[in-house]
Structures are given as structure tokens and as C-alpha cells.
Symmetry: C2
Subunit: 404 residues, 2 copies
């Protein structure tokens, strides 16, 4: 006899819309006759090995809707990356609770975890349906047009740079904004969507898909500053040199050599500060400011793409439909079907698990410091409706009298 129990978990970095996917699973599951209980694992896979489950069937649909609109992971998340033994432990608990469907919302680590758990279940002859639901602000899942969470984070980055550009135009100088993304530059590239007028920043965009050379960077900044009297730069935290060494490590080493000592340089503000220091020291520009967007870009309450919200809800719903009406495990993926519309399909777990997508060449300008129109066309519809817009005065100069 069927237990009618399903389990859902959230993993990795929280996003603005991951709770939409959670609520999509819960509400859709309860529409299916066979489902008796929907459990949630507290703090992801760790909640499974700890047998720490919440009964989401006892939630009101009203409160679930409110939670869906709240950022971060309502069940709690985890950074645990399960190995085989960990997955075997997870499976033991799933079997004890007679879980029949397991939904894991997360990035490529989460899809790999669910792949291993599915294999354990198959080996044991236990009928466990395993579905991975995509989520990551890095947009680095292969075979997905994009991933839920990315559009809202991209919107934050675009709005942040639109504002930083206005601020920099009012008080000219150099501004360096460091954006999340170790291997994929999508989120940093989103800064380009904050531009409107031809002289707007970000004037330079550095993604980890291209090698970062400090002398070239300084020459780029100087050229923009000479031209506009100011310069706004978007930098991915993952920038590295030709050997793959992170620029942060390289600059930190230089600083050590300067100081003849051992400087500890952990903490998230270091890369922005060090790049600013390089600019000040080498270009002699006085007003140089650096920001590290940090956790704000993934957690800020009140900056969300409605397209992202809708799709995050739908991947949760579709996951349940694939599980209930399909006969296979898999990873839900978003496909673009129009300008703009999307649909969903179920990919084999092995096709997505543990793989990393980076920015396609067609999205990066030949200069290596800008995006292409193809990227703008790709990203713009994902940012959703109601994007704020920036306006400026049309500058009618008054003739000088004293100094004309």
C-alpha cells in the first residue's frame, strides 16, 4: 500500500524566489489523490540525515502564499555536500519514513546529491521517485535557458549599477562594484542592463570567462576615465589570471610583499578594496570607491522579478506533475519558447548533475569588457515588469559672463 508521503528540501544559497518553488511543490502535491503528507526537511539534506522533518500538510494555503513571496529558504538550507556515505544515510531515513517522492531544490550540487540517492534507492529495489528542482543565482546549470533565482538577483545588480552610475555621474571618480559568481559571469554581466544612455556605466565589465590582467585593467580604467572624467566598473568575484589563480590571491600577495609580513585577507570586501588601491596607486585618481554587493544581491527584500517568481512557482508545480504522471527521475529545466515565454521539461539527472555552465561566447563582446546585444536580448525579459528607469536633464548651457 502507498504511504502517500512526499519530501521536499532546499539546498545551497538562498534566493529571492526559492520559496516559490517550495510552495509550488506543496500546493500542487496536495491536489494529487495519492498524496497524504508533504514533509519538508529542515536545513536541506542535513535535515534528512538528522530526521528533522516538518509536516507542511499542516500549513494553511494562505500562509504558504505569504511564505512564497518571502526571500531566502523557509525550510532552512545547508552547505553540506553529501558523499556516498551521507547519501546512504539519507536513503535510510527516507525509507524509514516511507517517503515515495523526494524533491530537492538547489543548484548542481543538489542535483548530484539526488542522483546518488536515486541510485541507492534503485540498488535497494525501493521505489523512490527523485526530482531535482533548479535554483541558483549563478545561472550555471547546463541545459537550462536560465535558472530560477538568477533573474531576481540580476535585477538587483542592474538596479544597483543604474544607481551607482547616477551617483558616480553626480560625484565623478572611479567606482568598482564586485558581484557574486566564481565561475559564471552571468550575474556580473547583468550590470549592463543598468545602462541607458551611451555614456552611462558600467563602462567596463569583467567576467571569470575571460582572463584578467591587472595592467590591462588599469589601462582600460584610464582610457574610460580620460574620456568621460569618470568610470564605473563591474567585476566578478571569480576573476583570475591566465594560470587560473584568483586575482584576490595575487593582489593579496603583492600587498604582503609590500608589507614584508603575513596579512590575513579573508572577508568579502577585500577584492574591491585591493582593486581600488591599485587604481589609486597606479593612475593617481583621487576619488576611487569600491563596493562589494555581498549578501544583499541574493537576499534583499523588495527587489524581485515577477517573471522569476512565476517560473520558480512553476518549476515546483511541474516537478510534482512529472513525478506523479511520469515514470522517471530527473531534473526540471526551463526552455525558452518565445520572446518571451517559457516551458519546462524533465532532463535525466546525469545530464545536469555536477556540471557547470559558463557564459556563452556570443554573450561576451570581443573587447572582453562588455556584453553583446544577444545578452541584452537574452536577459531583458527575465528581469520582469516595472523595472525602474533613469532620466536626466537636457543640458541647456547658460552663456558665461565673467569667464566667457
Amino acid at each position: 500500500m502507498s504511504s502517500g508521503k512526499i519530501l521536499v528540501a532546499q539546498g545551497g544559497g538562498p534566493t529571492a524566489v526559492i520559496n516559490q518553488s517550495l510552495v509550488g511543490v506543496v500546493l500542487e502535491a496536495r491536489r494529487h489523490q495519492g498524496v497524504q503528507r508533504v514533509y519538508g526537511a529542515a536545513h536541506g539534506v542535513r535535515g534528512i540525515v538528522n530526521e528533522d522533518f516538518l509536516d507542511l500538510t499542516q500549513e494553511t494555503s494562505h500562509n504558504l502564499e505569504l511564505v512564497a513571496g518571502t526571500p531566502a529558504a523557509a525550510l532552512g538550507s545547508t552547505r553540506d555536500k553529501p558523499d556516498l556515505a551521507y547519501c546512504q544515510e539519507m536513503f535510510k531515513v527516507l525509507r524509514a519514513h516511507q517517503i515515495e517522492h523526494f524533491f530537492n531544490i538547489g543548484g548542481n550540487d543538489s542535483s548530484d546529491t539526488i542522483r546518488i540517492v536515486a541510485e541507492e534507492a534503485a540498488k535497494a529495489g525501493y521505489p523512490l521517485r527523485c526530482i531535482h528542482i533548479p535554483k541558483t543565482i549563478d545561472n550555471d546549470l547546463v541545459l537550462n535557458d536560465h535558472t530560477p533565482g538568477f533573474p531576481s538577483a540580476a535585477r538587483f545588480v542592474a538596479q544597483a549599477f543604474a544607481g551607482a552610475n547616477l551617483d558616480n555621474a553626480a560625484l565623478p571618480g572611479v567606482y568598482v562594484g564586485v558581484v557574486m559568481g566564481r565561475h559564471a559571469g552571468f550575474l556580473t554581466a547583468a550590470s549592463a542592463l543598468g545602462k541607458k544612455f551611451p555614456d552611462d556605466g558600467p563602462h567596463l565589465i569583467y567576467v571569470p570567462e575571460r582572463t584578467f590582467e591587472i595592467p590591462k585593467f588599469l589601462a582600460d580604467v584610464k582610457a574610460v576615465h580620460d574620456r568621460y572624467g569618470r568610470c564605473v566598473v563591474a567585476v566578478s568575484e571569480g576573476i583570475h589570471d591566465a594560470s587560473g589563480q584568483p586575482i584576490l590571491a595575487q593582489l593579496a600577495k603583492d600587498l604582503e610583499r609590500d608589507a614584508h609580513g603575513n596579512v590575513q585577507l579573508s572577508g568579502s570586501g577585500a577584492l574591491a578594496d585591493l582593486l581600488c588601491e591599485e587604481i589609486k596607486r597606479n593612475l593617481g585618481i583621487k576619488r576611487v570607491r569600491g563596493d562589494t554587493f555581498g549578501y544583499l544581491q541574493r537576499s534583499f527584500v523588495g527587489c524581485v522579478s515577477d517573471v522569476d517568481q512565476r517560473e520558480a512557482r512553476e518549476v515546483g508545480e511541474k516537478a510534482v506533475q512529472f513525478a506523479m504522471w511520469g515514470d522517471r527521475n530527473g531534473s526540471v529545466a526551463i526552455k525558452r519558447t518565445g520572446f518571451y515565454s517559457a516551458d519546462y521539461e524533465l532532463l535525466p539527472l546525469e545530464a545536469v548533475a555536477g556540471k557547470t555552465r559558463t557564459m556563452e561566447d556570443e554573450f561576451i563582446a570581443p573587447s572582453g569588457t562588455d556584453v553583446t546585444d544577444a545578452f541584452r536580448l537574452y536577459l531583458r525579459p527575465l528581469l520582469g515588469s516595472g523595472m525602474p528607469d533613469a532620466f536626466r536633464l537636457r543640458r541647456a548651457k547658460v552663456p558665461k559672463i565673467l569667464k566667457g
Copy 2:
């Protein structure tokens, strides 16, 4: 014969609503019969000494409305702090262009500048009406209930901490967010408005109105972390020890001693990084993250208080009305007249110029690490309508089977 010329300038750090005040001046001025031309100074007082004026009378009211809704300073701003000679130079230009009314939008430095220019005009027997229009995210103008720009920045800080708290609850650890404000803690204290449930962060709030002691700070963090398994901290960039020395300088010195070298520590991320380092080193907590809100808190496009927008527009309009119908110079001030309503009055320039307001004692809890209900009551209406709200699951635990 009257020239009918007025001049408006913007000074200091840009805000989300400073352009509302600019547009308030321009549109209101054009309703007055005597006004022929409204000039704007490019980049504040520097644009005056450089005779760099824009004719705002040639702008459409449509575009002015769009500029009003755009953050940062549309005329450009400046960090120049004019001395007597600088003000005399400004006055020469104002006289050459037959400017009859001078409006300066800015903080207490801007009010001091306009005070000196007014004195020069009086000495020369030149009829110049001088009005200071308040603006600062620091909320540090005396005799004002609050200052335009502060409510929107406060809203950003509250929403940022609401999100950081959710993120920290999902992935527990210690989070330190550093907020602008060298002498006044209002903006840091605004983080308290991001709290909803009793165990929400920020759990600790440090403002420059109270002495900061590192051992006490570490004990505070440990106590919160022991109780909740996590801790969210809001810190003002201006925190200092009993002697008035900034904590940043103190921590940087410690680091130097560790490294036996000279470490350069300029750049905005340093305080957050160093506080995180102290926590890791002394409390042995692994997951410690720091963010410095930097320029985002004053420039982010898309986070604004509608109350702030309305009032910033009104202080601009009132400035023109005071100038045209009154017979004295002054500084426009916001008075609270209800819960919530506001009105405006014209204070003598000397009453505001160059003075700094800090947080009143009644706004700071006896613990020194929290705000009072009086502060919540003070700030909440200023944040405006449509504040996002956070919701959580009601946690119905599933009984354990294996480990019960």
C-alpha cells in the same frame, strides 16, 4: 528693475529624492510672476565659481517629473567645502548674473556655505535671497524632525537587514552589516525596522552615539549566538572607542602588529572584514560573513519611501514660497504635526548651519545595542507605504522514527 533670475544648486552626497527638491524649486518658481529664468549650477558650488550654469527654464515639465523620480543629483554635486574666499568668489558670479534668489540643497555644510554667501551679499548691499533646502541620508540636521533622503536610505537599510536576517536564518552563522553614518547612528538604527519576529535580527545594533568596546562586542555576539545559534549585527561605520578613536583604526593597528609590517587599509570593506576576523579568531565561530552596504544604501534605484518623495518635493516648493513671500533668508525645516503628518518652517540659517544632530538618548535602549519603541514609532511612518513583509512557516515537527 528685477532680473527675475533664480539659481538652484545641489551639494554633498546624492540621495534617492534630492531631485524631487530640485524639481520642486523649478516648477514652483515658474508659477511666480517675477521669475524669468531658473538656473541650475552644475556640480554645486563649484559650478557657481566656474560659472557653469544650466537654464532649467528650457526643460519640459514632463522631463522634470521624470528626473524628480530619478535618484542622485541631476545637476551634479560636489564635495567642496567653501571657505570665505570661495564664498566671495561665488558671490561675484551671482552678482554678475543678477541672481536674486539662491537655493542650495544639501546638508549642514551646504547651509553654512549659504550662510556665508548671504553675509557677503548683505555686506555689499546686494539684495540676494538665500534659502537652504535640507537633504542628508545621515538625518543629522538640528531642529528638523528628519531630513529628506534619510527615510529612503532607512528603508533600504531596513529591507536589507530583513533579507540578511532571512538568509542568516536559512544558513546560520554570524552576519555583520556596516552602515553609513560617521557621527549619527540614525541610519544604522533603521536596521531595527527590518525585524518582525522576536528572534529576528539584527540582534545587536552599534551606533556612534555609544562607545564601542571590542571585548564587550565579542561577549554580546557570543551571547546571541549561544541563544539562537546565529547572530545578525548592524554596525555604524563611525563606531569608536572611549577616546574617540575609530574602531577601524584600532583594528587595523592590531593587524599591523600581527604582521610586523605596514598594511594599507583604506577602502570601504575593511571594517566589516576586520570585525568578522575578530569574531572568527576569538569566538571560534566558523560561518562569519560581513557586508558593507556602501553606495547602494544611498543610490540604489528602486527603493524609495513615498513619504520621503513627497516631502522632498515639498521642501523645494516651500523654499520658493518662503523666498517669494517672506522677507528673510533661512533654512527650510520639517516639523512633525501628527501621526503621521508634517509641515515646514523657515529657520534662521545660523540655527542650522554647521551643526550636527546625533541620536537622542530616548531612541537608544539602555543596553546600548538596540533601539527603543520611541525610535520605532518615530521612524516607521517615514518609511512609507508598501514596505515588504517577511513570513515564515509554522513549524509542525514530524515525530522521529529512527532517532526518536
